[in-house]
């Protein structure tokens, strides 16, 4: 049996698939811990696992950390190049510095056999490299978004690489290689077909969506059962807080009194009154809810995208910021949904798009095709098999691979 340490960022969308994979590893008898830089409520962590929050090591960084977390809400007001700058200069790089000491200590104290770092949590791979622990990277988003723009913007690539090299130097690593991602294995939680990646490097392993993380959120199932069909699920994920009122206001404008029930995953308190045909609920058991839906509206957070197509549902994607635009393009290309940019969103268009999705079976058929590719990718079982393989290989082989 092996010890797995997942190194995760303070963003639930990135953490979520690791919780599902971790639960599967625990059920196989492995020891699993997570390490992150914000406290995480115990009920999110699979039974038998442990979440390490290195409070003491983080104390000197609290102000910087809180500033970084607040800045994430500015994403919707940033242009594309500003978002890139926010992500690299103000998020990924400082996050790695902030995490370093606590992570080094955890590795020394616990001695994991394998470190699994999320793709934006650079400290995981860097500390693994320093400590000679094998490392696998997990990527919840379509992979080309991070550290690679296909060579079309050479100065942007150069800027990103210089930032990473500077970070590496700060970790005492002098290398021309980018060491922030594992070059042994990168597990991607989508299918190669949906991601539209041709000829991926052999270390990229597309395992599709994973499931099974604990989610005990309550929901008014009785009300849903009595509700008129079709039913449309609407989620804005966990990150974007400031624009909630505006977004759901437009949703009400579009669907109040329409022949459809809207399940809105948001704090009901943002409005005093909700229309009769709306069920608003703060936290929802999304995986359990999805099979009962007919269509989904979301901004393109990757976990909701995965849940949607795992259930073969069509999607109206309303990209707002970050990697949403890339995901929107993939969905349009696959034919399983319609994309309307948030900045160009009109409630009339939104209503028209949703009834088109519900009425035209081509979208659902395309969604079912994506579902097939997701299932074929192997999910939890494949992810566990790959991680076990990596943890069983002798360390020196990994280190050599890392240094090659």
């Amino acid at each position: 049996m092996s010890k797995f340490l997942f190194v995760v960022p303070p963003f639930f969308g990135h953490m979520s698939p690791t919780l599902s994979v971790g639960a599967s590893l625990i059920s196989r008898g492995h020891e699993v811990k997570w390490l992150g830089i914000i406290p995480v409520a115990g009920h999110h962590i699979p039974e038998g696992g442990e979440y390490i929050y290195p409070e003491e090591d983080l104390l000197p960084y609290q102000e910087e950390l809180q500033h970084m977390l607040r800045r994430q809400d500015d994403g919707p007001n940033c242009s594309a190049p500003e978002v890139l700058k926010l992500a690299f200069e103000e998020t990924y790089v400082p996050m790695a510095r902030i995490m370093r000491n606590g992570l080094m200590r955890a590795i020394e104290e616990w001695g994991p056999d394998l470190i699994v770092n999320d793709c934006i949590t650079f400290a995981g791979a860097l500390c693994a490299h320093i400590k000679g622990v094998p490392c696998v990277t997990t990527t919840p988003v379509p992979p080309e978004v991070i550290l690679n723009n296909g060579g079309s913007l050479p100065k942007i690539t150069e800027w990103q690489h210089n930032l990473v090299r500077g970070l590496q130097e700060g970790f005492g690593l002098d290398s021309d290689h980018l060491l922030v991602h594992s070059r042994m294995m990168n597990i991607v939680f989508t299918s190669q077909e949906f991601a539209g990646v041709k000829d991926p490097s052999p270390h990229m392993k597309f395992v599709g969506p994973v499931k099974g993380r604990p989610n005990n959120a309550e929901f008014d199932w009785g009300r849903l059962e009595k509700a008129a069909r079709p039913v449309v699920f609407v989620s804005l994920g966990t990150l974007l807080v400031d624009i909630r009122k505006d977004f759901f206001g437009k949703l009400i404008e579009a669907f109040a009194g329409a022949p459809v029930t809207i399940v809105a995953a948001t704090d009901p308190a943002i409005f005093e009154h909700w229309p009769e045909n709306f069920i608003a609920s703060s936290f929802v058991p999304q995986a359990a809810l999805m099979p009962k839906m007919d269509a989904v509206i979301c901004h393109g957070g990757f976990n909701t995208v995965n849940d949607t197509f795992m259930n073969g549902l069509p999607m109206l994607i309303i990209p707002i910021t970050y990697d949403h635009f890339h995901t929107a393009k993939l969905i349009e290309k696959a034919g399983c949904g319609i994309s309307i940019r948030y900045k160009r969103l009109r409630s009339g268009e939104m209503r028209k798009a949703v009834f088109e999705l519900l009425g035209n079976s081509n979208y659902r058929k395309a969604a079912e095709r994506i579902r097939e590719t997701f299932i074929d990718a192997g999910g939890n079982e494949k992810a566990v098999e790959l991680l076990e393989e990596c943890s069983n290989t002798p360390h020196n082989i990994h280190t050599n691979l890392h240094n090659s």
Binding site: P81, F325, K343
Partner: protein
Amino acid sequence: MDTIVTAGKLNSNEIFNLLKQFITEVIGEEFVEEMDISMDSSFNKDLEMDSIEIVAFSEKIKAHFGDKIDFTGWLSNMDIDELIGLKLGMIVNFIEECQ
């Protein structure tokens, strides 16, 4: 209509009006009405163009001016701060100089 065929060189004011027309065609009149498009408009921030719209806008420039103006090549050589600071007036100047 995508293109207006003009024989001679355009002055900056004419180029500005032409680009404004392209922007309107790309992002839709109803959204342009809410904007105050000027030479000082930030391409990314004020016009809020996403990558698909920028591609459509680039194609209109190409269709109108032909190969002598390599707008995409010019853009792709920018660094991150140049992209953030890109103003409509800079595109007007670029086109005026390339003509």
